[in-house]
Amino acid sequence: MDAALALIVGKYNYWIYIVLMMIGLYAVVVKKNLIKKIIGMNILQTAIILFYVSIGAKKGATIPIIAHAHNGGGEHVIHAAEYINPLPHVLMLTAIVVAVATLGVALALSIKVYKQYGTLEEDEIYEKIRES
């Protein structure tokens, strides 16, 4: 029981990312509205970013900006344990950019689809394709 509790409490951020990821995945696959699908896709991507940021977290450490860097830096020794792991943050900056770029293209395409079929619902679009 204690072990299970420790598992849940020690990693609760990881559970939240799994929940968000499943929500996003479900929305992309099941939702019929294209904009809703795009929102689901974004939630999926954000969940993964949350996962990476959780990897970087470190208890008892501060943000990865070195204090007193330029005034009297000589005697100030930097310990790695004092600062949060910066690498996942760097990777996730890139991932956010990728997400917004994908979002732009997806929205442009959905506008184009709307202009063509007059609706954003997938089932109505397929109906129109079958009729023509």
């Binding site: 904009i35 929102i39 970013i49 996730m92 900056l93 979002l103 954003l120």
Partner: protein, 81 residues
């Protein structure tokens, strides 16, 4: 780090995410998605990822929402699910 605060934000993230997908109006969904991004940004700021939080605040909660609203404005607000 105040764990109650973090817990509330984690809860709000999930609520906003589900809300954005459940609400039956695309404009509302875009705004809720903006709220989701902003909550996410707070969460990352708490975890010490200040650069990521800053980016998410300007991109996710800012520009993405505007792009969503623009796209909804150019298409329709109607949705069945």
């Amino acid at each position: 780090m105040i764990w109650e605060f973090e817990f509330i934000i984690l809860f709000l993230v999930v609520v906003c995410g589900i809300g954005a997908l459940a609400v039956k109006d695309l404009l509302g969904a875009s705004i809720l998605f903006g709220g989701y991004s902003f909550m996410m940004c707070l969460l990352w700021a708490i975890m010490g990822a200040v650069d990521v939080a800053f980016t998410e605040a300007s991109v996710g909660a800012g520009v993405s929402t505007v792009l969503f609203v623009a796209a909804v404005f150019r298409t329709s607000r109607r949705t069945k699910d």
